[in-house]
């Protein structure tokens, strides 16, 4: 179990504000902290990482106490064993792809595993390139495995995909899911992108002006319950295409890309990137036995 409870005063453009957090979640879960910018998401992650110190609180990750203001205990950032990926590029510009990974390597691990990691995220052949020669998606992939090489106890993702174009973002979301499925590492994703949170997180904490105002499964949090559809999916518009009198939306829903038809009325305030709920009523689906079973 992970227990995170702290108070920290933040200085926002609107004045001083308390970041007041008290959450618990099981180990091995991929949880998300969702909120608008300025809500305190980044400060939250920095406090978990040990880069910022709260005024008071108690932080326990994977059974280890990292911070306890009552006992004046504060484990240093180096000793916390975290993987941290931020939206900025934090790859070391003077080191190659391989150099960045070797720097993250610690003595007790097998050095020969580096090529496997490079191959896993599709950077084979780019080992001797410098980070500035990589695309945005490749940079974040490298950052991801550089963080994982340490075998961290917890992976902290601070809007890691926000600077990427939509295709790269979708690919990297799949990558994160793949790595999560493989490692089952406790992961905290901070994001203001609803589709991303919906796709990746098992549990969401909604952060608003320094406080967690809601928590639950993404479906419970995001799906507007006014719609009484039988099937409901939340997705993001990737493309809007007009075909004669029809508006065709290409949507990213979960791990799938699908096309639906929209009326002009529905189209009124939709644009590429909009978050939408797709639902259908009065609909008898065909149920077929899955090939996999």
């Amino acid at each position: 179990m992970n227990k995170i409870r702290f108070k920290k005063q933040m200085h926002t453009p609107q004045g001083k504000q308390w970041l007041d957090i008290d959450i618990n979640f099981p180990s091995g879960e991929l949880v998300s902290v969702f909120g608008e910018s300025g809500a305190g998401k980044t400060t939250f992650l920095r406090i978990l990482a040990g880069l910022t110190q709260p005024e008071e609180g108690y932080i326990e990750i994977e059974g280890e106490v990292w911070f306890d203001s009552n006992k004046k205990m504060n484990r240093s950032v180096q000793m916390r064993k975290i993987g941290f990926i931020s939206q900025e590029n934090t790859l070391f510009p003077h080191m190659t792809v391989r150099g960045n990974l070797e720097y993250a390597w610690h003595g007790q691990q097998d050095f020969n595993l580096i090529p496997q990691w490079i191959e896993l995220v599709g950077l084979k052949g780019l080992e001797d390139k410098n980070p500035d020669q990589l695309s945005g998606g490749q940079k974040q992939r490298l950052a991801l495995i550089r963080a994982l090489i340490r075998q961290p106890k917890i992976l902290l993702l601070d809007e890691p995909l926000s600077d990427l174009d939509i295709q790269a973002r979708l690919n990297l979301q799949d990558e994160i899911l793949k790595i999560y499925a493989k490692t089952k590492i406790t992961t905290v994703l901070v994001s203001h992108d609803m589709a991303e949170v919906f796709k990746l997180a098992q549990k969401v904490f909604v952060l608003d002006r320094g406080k967690i105002i809601k928590s639950g499964k993404p479906q419970e949090i995001f799906v507007n319950n006014d719609v009484s559809g039988k099937f409901k999916f939340t997705g993001q518009i990737l493309e809007i295409h007009q075909d004669g009198v029809l508006n065709i939306l290409t949507l990213s829903i979960g791990n799938n890309v699908t096309k639906v038809v929209a009326t002009d009325e529905e189209m009124a305030d939709l644009k590429v990137g909009s978050q939408v709920v797709v639902s259908s009523k009065a609909f008898n689906p065909l149920i077929l036995r899955s090939q996999k079973n």
Binding site: V77, Q78, F84, T90, F92, H94, Y103, H106, R150
Partner: protein, 223 residues
């Protein structure tokens, strides 16, 4: 025309010794100034930069006073360690260290302050100590600032006159630097010899600064 190369040789010997020592001293000092949250750091910053505004003779005067055998520090150094600072090469080194300190510290400090904080944090998050982060991540990325500091300190030491004259005097082969030799020769009306020394200093200063600006013209390709 009579001339010897001793003053030029001595000048470069001094510049090299001073640059090497300053480089080693200035990295931790600049690091502390750049990152410390100590509220007295502005005092240290001011002291480091004092030689930029003070007349060199003032620094030389105080050094002469402090290190003279009549003063307790000078007396201690001489009687217990057998070290005479005034009118010796050691004195030149000490005077030059103080006088050229801001020329080395300030560019390095600027380089450190402009270095992206997130890269430092990325290294700490990977479990690396501050020391490892400094020499594996920060220093390799601020080579232009380090080079600027070294060149400025080296060039400035060559160009010294007031401090070294006050503390070193004018002893041939020991403290007579090129800048002092020029003054000496002019006083003795040996304009040809003075002109030769002067020309050598102009040439060398030009080459050093030319190299510096050339390297900084395209820093990314060089480093």
């Amino acid at each position: 025309m009579h001339y010897d190369l001793q003053p030029l040789y001595l000048t470069f010997q001094l510049a090299i010794v001073v640059t090497v020592i300053l480089f080693a001293v200035s990295i931790p000092l600049a690091y502390w100034i750049a990152f410390s949250k100590n509220r007295f750091k502005y005092v240290i910053e001011t002291l480091v930069s004092m030689p930029l505004v003070l007349p060199p003779t003032v620094i030389g005067f105080y050094l002469l006073l402090v290190f003279s055998p009549q003063h307790s520090l000078g007396h201690f150094l001489e009687s217990f360690l057998g070290l005479r600072v005034v009118f010796s090469f050691t004195g030149l080194v000490i005077g030059s260290l103080i006088f050229s300190l801001p020329f080395m510290v300030n560019p390095i400090k600027a380089g450190l302050q402009n270095f992206p904080q997130e890269l430092i944090e990325a290294s700490l998050v990977l479990g690396k100590s501050r020391w490892t982060t400094l020499y594996r991540v920060i220093l390799p990325n601020i080579k232009p600032a380090l080079l600027t500091g070294m060149i400025m300190a080296f060039a400035h030491t060559i160009g010294e006159f007031g401090v070294v004259l006050m503390i070193g005097g004018n002893i041939p082969g020991e403290t007579r630097l090129a800048s002092i030799a020029i003054y000496n020769e002019v006083e003795a009306l040996n304009y040809d010899t003075a002109g030769l020394y002067a020309l050598v200093l102009v040439g060398i200063s030009f080459v050093i600064l030319l190299m510096f600006y050339y390297l900084n013209r395209k820093p990314l390709k060089i480093f």
